[in-house]
Subunit: 357 residues, 2 copies
Amino acid sequence: MNHYSYDQLHTFSKKIFLAMGCSESHATTAADTLLSADMRGVDSHGVARLSGYVRLWEKKRINAKPNIRVVHESPSTAVVDGDGGLGLVVAPFAMLVAIEKAEKAGTGWVAVRNSNHYGIAGYHAMQALAHDMIGMSMTNASPLVAPTFSKERLLGTNPIAVAIPADEEPPFVGDFATTTAANGKLEILQRKGEPAPNGWIQDKEGNTTTNAYGVKEGGALRPLGGDRQNGSHKGYILGSIVDIFSAVLSGANYGPWAPPFVSFIDPVSDPVGEGLGHFFGAMRIDAFRPASEFKQHMDQWIRRFRGSAPIESNQQVLIPGDPERAFEKERSKKGIPLLEPVEKDLRALGMRFEVEF
Amino acid sequence: MNHYSYDQLHTFSKKIFLAMGCSESHATTAADTLLSADMRGVDSHGVARLSGYVRLWEKKRINAKPNIRVVHESPSTAVVDGDGGLGLVVAPFAMLVAIEKAEKAGTGWVAVRNSNHYGIAGYHAMQALAHDMIGMSMTNASPLVAPTFSKERLLGTNPIAVAIPADEEPPFVGDFATTTAANGKLEILQRKGEPAPNGWIQDKEGNTTTNAYGVKEGGALRPLGGDRQNGSHKGYILGSIVDIFSAVLSGANYGPWAPPFVSFIDPVSDPVGEGLGHFFGAMRIDAFRPASEFKQHMDQWIRRFRGSAPIESNQQVLIPGDPERAFEKERSKKGIPLLEPVEKDLRALGMRFEVEF
């Protein structure tokens, strides 16, 4: 696989966003958000998705010149209307509002409507860290997940991210889809021609299947837990909370009405809100206790967990964020590896917009 | 099984709390909280646990006359010191603080230290509903859960509850342990002499076991997901977030330092904070959008999900809170069934405190 530097891919992505008509600052923000996924090893959400955003823009489902604004607020809350903009730009705006609210009121909570796919959840949550705040981020998404006992796809993979600062230790950064496995993992199995583990997906009748194409063939992803006996109702609750906070609180489309990411599936003709929804939170640590004290206890928490007795001597216990940090370290040195189909896709995009790849 | 009315068990529990030295209002609050579990079918957290609270009080690990107070605050946050009181009383106090903060600031977030077991998470979250607020509640607990890849018990079953109001439909009330299965479910299997499903527990070497006594024999409960392939790292993240919000933010004991509920295991000799921790949240709906509008959309959300195509025609799709509501309806009519060992336990308690059972 060929490797590309962060700067190469950032410059390229930014030029594509500019070519779409984004402002200089929006194009920079969008490229920052997009590339954070490649750096952290979440390849499904990085430059591999760039052409997908372009296709949505071509279908006029993404507005390159949005007027992103606060439409409702209280001392600790706000609702942001993304004006159909790139989620990659709308989300950082909204997270900043949450941080500003938290500076004054102790915490800030921002629900967003009329947005689009916002990249990786963790990136937005992590914006709070430098302010000695805990950051939170969640979003609803294209319906691919069936609630426990249901045959229908009513929820997205609806991720939750929480970033918590420490002192000498790196931060705690949990970032996960509320399904057993994210859709990107299925794509990997499909490429390898391997079956899916039991509990990840169900076929269109609702039966567990190991067919890695099960979702494409009318089935659904299953909520975290996999089946009722193993707690899938808990994954269903989590995905629902994300959906309600992101979309019902904000006035976006929720559940099966959420707009699909892929451009070849049209949004529903009977929307219940505007665009996709997100939800962000920022909590100032010293609104609870002195930040230095908290961060020292976080160091102790992290060291105790990381140092706990492992089951296998060659696999130590991880702290949420460790795997992504390992990717970031390696890719800072060696660059970002791209699969051939992704390179081809980006090359075509470059030719079309007359941007060198 | 004999059935008892709510009033019978409430009166009895209140008298026991009074006998411990609780004030009239604390005894009432504690009985309200405790009985909510029996009514909602969470038998492990109701009157069956009453003698456990008494034993902790005998060991001077519960203070019957606590001075519960706010020790730190900002417009949208507070830290409450429970002064070693019954969690059944400390938690309602803290939830009320969260609601009062939300009245003014839009949201209220309260971290609690120096508390004890607080009953069912859902009861506290539901206090927000009557105020047209979303309620949240979580708590850390005795360490019984091993993080992914670990042999050690570092986390409790750390539940999360979220209560969301609707209009004509009953509210959405999610309330779940962040493990594959709660400890109470293992007790049921033990009584029946049945094995545990794969993924619920691991033995002391960290291997999956179906031995329903595995936890008692030095093993651990597993986080929601069960194993790495099925997403147990996500359950581990969730349990950790609950631990950090409840105990590191508040100054309580976290992780393996959390005080055990059972009186025959002493708390650690090197505490990192005070008592057990909780975390509560209240979000005023109209700090985001008009409450009536939100609640009508919640009705639509609930109806769409409940009405979705079921896998089995005899098992419709449930809304979080439905199973507990069914228990509440039945038990309001027929009373609360108690197992013989629980009756015996309560009778002994009654004799000791000269309270008629």
